[in-house]
């Protein structure tokens, strides 16, 4: 698929609510006065998203002179257009779903449920405004970070220009993130579309919405808008959603979306869009069969491309390409030894936690002679559909491709007491271990709170704790997280060889 990126977004944005005005003051103050530049910075950071913020703060806390340059808004995609706004709306969607199922729990919902889209959006804006306080421009300045708003271009191997202001650095970090990718569908641009940036500016609940692309964001938002009451469709080119995840997990997301009333078009490609009677008409092709659908809005949740344009990377001798972004080695160094990269602009896994973790590696490697490797990181991630899909470490297929014998301990959530009591039985915990040992290679969890549950597997992996030791960890009962302990118990049972059993019986009958 050919992809083009959106044009640069203007920094000055009109607030759409009082809370939004507060957020804008925090993340992009209109009257910001740039500090007087130092002659040279220890670390110059391009981009104040999760990676840039983490690096700037860590370096400044250690006494480094840090310049942080932001083109648009502090917080990056995550705070302003991504994780936080979508999670706020997901919470509302969950409540609506719970109300729908309330009778099952003995609470009879009102005959007519009223959903106030505007109130849900206001709540979302209040939340992003609150969270934006932590990383506000003023706070960063108080921490000693020199914050510049403007567009940066490299002018040499150790210098940049920010809207005419020259800045020099000993080390630099490219953390410009990624941008939405627009699928190349004839007529789409003319008909108009929502992106993960503009969808959060909606003032009125769409009557109908087609989501193009079944990645994490596409699935999350499709489910949310279906729960809000929009007629929602989702179209995805592959046979299953969430192409990174294992089949069973992706299938469960598909089932969940269907239960929420999302019209699912897998293995389908949008080939044409046009306007008719004020509606967008979309042609979808599936194995040679063509279908058309009419919707009010189209949302392209299709993916991200690294934001590398306009940086004049050539002047700095930094190798890159449009698809993979800035080229880095395992220490996150670019082809210019002074310059590093972190986050979406250079990494395959485009997650907030990964961006921040990679940025902290860069601070140690760039400023303190560190030799930390990106590949040593255990990166957990989660798709916040309901149920959620969380993963850490290797997938079975990856292990098998590396010729690692792998065995999976699977606990269905319907075998977990607390999940049964909560009426949240859809899902599983799958922990992959090296066959013949208890070494955890990775795990996938599908559960209503999978994102919370995966963290204990992450902890075990980083601490080098295997399933045998996990079985010795007492857990509060009953909890859904006990599923992990149940997997550890299942492991122990497989170690009970006939010889061990025989010995135990003989001992008891002595």
């Amino acid at each position: 698929m050919t992809a083009s990126t959106f044009a640069a977004i203007p920094r000055r944005v009109r607030p759409i609510s009082p809370d939004d005005a507060e957020r804008l003051v925090n993340v992009s103050p209109a009257d910001w006065r740039s500090p007087k530049p130092r002659s040279v910075y220890h670390l110059l950071v391009l981009g104040a998203g999760p990676a840039g913020l983490a690096a700037a703060r860590a370096a400044a806390a250690l006494g480094a002179h840090v310049a942080l340059i932001e083109r648009h808004q502090i917080g990056g995609d995550c705070l302003n257009d991504g994780c936080i706004p979508s999670k706020s709306l997901i919470r509302t969607g969950r409540l609506l779903a719970d109300m729908r199922d309330a009778a099952h729990f003995g609470a009879v919902p009102p005959a007519e449920m009223v959903f106030d889209f505007r109130a849900a959006m206001l709540r979302m804006r209040r939340i992003t405004a609150r969270i934006s306080r932590t990383d506000s421009a003023m706070n960063l300045a108080r921490e000693g970070i020199h914050l510049f708003f403007g567009t940066a271009r490299f002018t040499g191997a150790d210098s940049v220009d920010v809207d005419g202001l020259p800045l020099r650095f000993k080390k630099a970090l490219i953390a410009t993130g990624s941008r939405s990718m627009l699928p190349d569908v004839p007529g789409l641009a003319e008909a108009g579309f929502l992106t993960n940036e503009t969808v959060f500016n909606l003032q009125v609940l769409p009557r109908s919405l087609l989501v193009l692309g079944g990645g994490p964001l596409g699935c999350e938002l499709a489910q949310v808008f279906a729960r809000f009451g929009s007629r929602t469709l989702i179209s995805h080119r592959e046979p299953l959603f969430l192409p990174l995840e294992e089949r069973d997990a992706a299938q469960m997301v598909s089932d969940a979306l269907a239960r929420d009333g999302v019209e699912i078009h897998l293995n389908s490609t949008a080939t044409k869009v046009w306007m008719e009677g004020g509606q967008k008409v979309v042609e979808l092709v599936n194995d040679g069969n063509t279908a058309t659908t009419r919707v009010e809005h189209i949302l392209t949740g299709i993916g991200r491309v690294p934001a590398v344009q306009g940086l004049n990377l050539e002047a700095a001798g930094v190798a890159y390409d449009a698809a993979a972004g800035v080229h880095v080695d395992d220490f996150l160094r670019t082809s210019n030894p002074r310059i590093f990269a972190a986050g979406d602009v250079c990494l395959k896994h485009q997650f907030t936690n990964t961006a921040a973790a990679s940025a902290r590696i860069v601070v140690r490697n760039a400023l303190f002679l560190g030799r930390e490797r990106m590949s040593a990181l255990n990166v957990p991630w989660c798709t916040y559909t309901d149920p959620e899909v969380a993963h850490v470490g290797l997938y079975v297929k990856q292990a098998r491709q590396q010729r690692i014998p792998v065995k999976t301990f699977t606990i269905p959530m319907h075998d977990v007491d607390r999940a049964i009591a909560d009426g949240e039985e859809d899902g599983f915990v799958k922990i992959h271990v090296r066959e013949g040992s208890d070494q955890i290679l990775g795990a996938t969890i599908v559960a209503r709170h999978a994102g919370e549950m995966i963290n204990s597997i992450s902890l075990a992996m980083v601490a080098g704790i295997g399933l045998r030791e996990l079985a010795n960890v007492m857990q509060a009962y009953p909890t859904q997280g006990a599923a992990i302990r149940q997997a550890a118990d299942a492991y122990l049972r497989t170690r009970l060889t006939p010889l061990k059993l025989k010995t135990a019986r003989r001992w008891l009958q002595r």
Partner: protein, 453 residues
């Protein structure tokens, strides 16, 4: 040359069984075979996919029919000449069929469209050129060739045609280069090319790979088997270690022909298991799931399990045990992740007998006796569901129980019943296919060792 004869012996089962059970098996097997007599177009040998009026033929069902005729000859249900004539008619049809790959042809590159018009033999329902269904057809042809080993002109022609049709299949072509790392594509359509689906995860394709890798005309590469098996998942579920696949038929189809007892590929050597034992464990997992019955479906229990491909109710969603339950019509149902709407496929329990008699017998007896005078109806039907017919209020506790049972029968189900009961009783199909050189060669190329290989 005198045709080989086969008698019931220990190749199939080892323990003696009660007369009533023997009679039950006999009745089930014979009435399943009747399907092929009733649903075959005598002019071209094509067999209807289901007993529904207007059903097209399924090439996989034809493969089952070709394998069922030897069983019928052995059991004395039809004469050998009749069986030869039926088989030969089928093979002649496929040999002369339109292989242009045009929109309305029968196939191309030696493969055939999944569904064909019973009368014209041309593509029906805009179906795909199917790699697995072609494999099931071809293994049926080779099974017939292995059985009809006589020197008569008809049996000689039958063998020649079967081999020629096998050799004509261009397995390499299906190993579509754009596809997942050399794995075989599931299908192809003249309108849109190869389907977007590859064989991912363990499934019924073992026989496809064995045939494809054993070909000396257009063999699959060794990388194809590797590309498929790398997607396997070995799981400990309900305390049972097994190679995971949800629907039971996945664990059964290839086993209707190939005796996987004691032969192991690299994966099974690593796991100290074999595919036959794995199918036994899969049945036990299904039973465990039915005992847990997390969605509260009516009927499920230790002697009522068997989620597989089959027909189910297509009624409006209703409340089942407090949940709004949709019903899926025809679907490949599986445990424990579904889809599951309370529908059981009886033939999958019959086919489990050979793997796990200790748990299959009680379930089989219970399902067999359920329909009263119409004994076996629940096992022959393409599905039954005790939840779709039941009315229940919001907490799912009350309601009149009325079972939904599919009016139609599926050719695949009847084929599995005939073949798997025969394998249980005498091991006939397993013994026949052991003698097929290309299957042996294919299994060996896929890395299988030990046992009868």
């Amino acid at each position: 040359m005198k045709a080989a004869t086969f008698r019931a012996n220990s190749v199939g089962r080892s323990a003696p069984i009660a007369l009533a059970d023997e009679q039950m098996l006999d009745q089930l097997q014979r009435s399943a075979f009747e399907y092929f007599l009733k649903q075959t177009n005598a002019r071209n040998g094509l067999v209807a996919d289901t007993s529904r009026v207007g059903s097209p033929a399924s090439i996989a069902v034809v493969g089952f029919a070709l394998s069922a005729y030897p069983v019928a000859v052995e059991r004395g249900w039809i004469a050998r000449d009749d069986a030869v004539h039926r088989s030969l008619t089928t093979l002649r049809f496929f040999s002369a069929s339109d292989q242009s790959g045009a929109l309305m042809s029968t196939g191309c590159n030696g493969f055939y469209f999944h569904f064909l018009d019973v009368h014209t033999g041309l593509r029906a329902w805009e179906s795909e050129l199917s790699s697995i269904d072609t494999a099931l057809l071809i293994v049926g042809m080779l099974t017939a060739a292995a059985y009809f080993s006589g020197a008569t002109p008809a049996e000689t022609e039958l063998r020649q045609l079967a081999n020629a049709l096998y050799e004509r299949v261009d397995w390499q072509w299906a190993q579509h280069e754009d596809h997942d790392d050399h794995a075989v594509a599931q299908g192809w359509k003249p309108e849109s090319g190869f389907l977007n689906y590859g064989w991912q995860g363990y499934n019924e394709a073992l026989v496809l790979y064995a045939l494809g890798m054993g070909s000396h005309t257009h063999p699959l590469t060794s990388a194809s088997f590797e590309a498929w098996t790398v997607t396997y998942q070995w799981e400990n579920l309900y305390g049972i270690d097994f190679l995971f696949a949800g629907p039971l038929f996945v664990h059964q189809f290839s086993h209707a022909w190939i005796d996987f007892r004691g032969i192991r590929d690299r994966f099974m050597r690593e796991k100290n298991c074999d595919y036959f034992e794995n199918s036994r464990r899969a049945a036990k997992v299904q039973r465990q799931y039915a005992i847990r019955n997390p969605r509260g479906f009516a009927g499920y229990g230790q002697d009522c399990w068997g989620l597989s491909a089959g027909d189910g109710p297509s009624v409006e969603p209703r409340m089942v045990a407090g949940r709004r339950q949709a019903f899926y019509g025809y679907a490949a149902r599986g445990a424990p992740w579904g889809p599951d709407d309370g529908t059981i496929t009886g033939s999958s329990v019959v086919a489990s007998l050979v793997f796990a008699p200790e748990i299959a017998w009680p379930a089989l007896r219970q399902m067999y006796a359920r329909a009263g005078a119409e004994q076996g109806r629940y096992l022959h039907a393409a599905g039954f569901n005790d939840s779709a017919g039941a009315t229940s209020d919001v907490d799912g506790t009350s309601g009149a129980k009325a079972s939904w049972i599919c009016e139609g029968e599926s050719g695949l189900d009847q084929g599995m019943i005939v073949l798997m009961i025969e394998n249980f009783r005498s091991g006939l199909l397993w013994r026949l296919t052991r003698s097929i050189p290309c299957l042996r060669a294919g299994l060996k190329r896929a890395g299988f060792r030990g046992g009868w290989l």
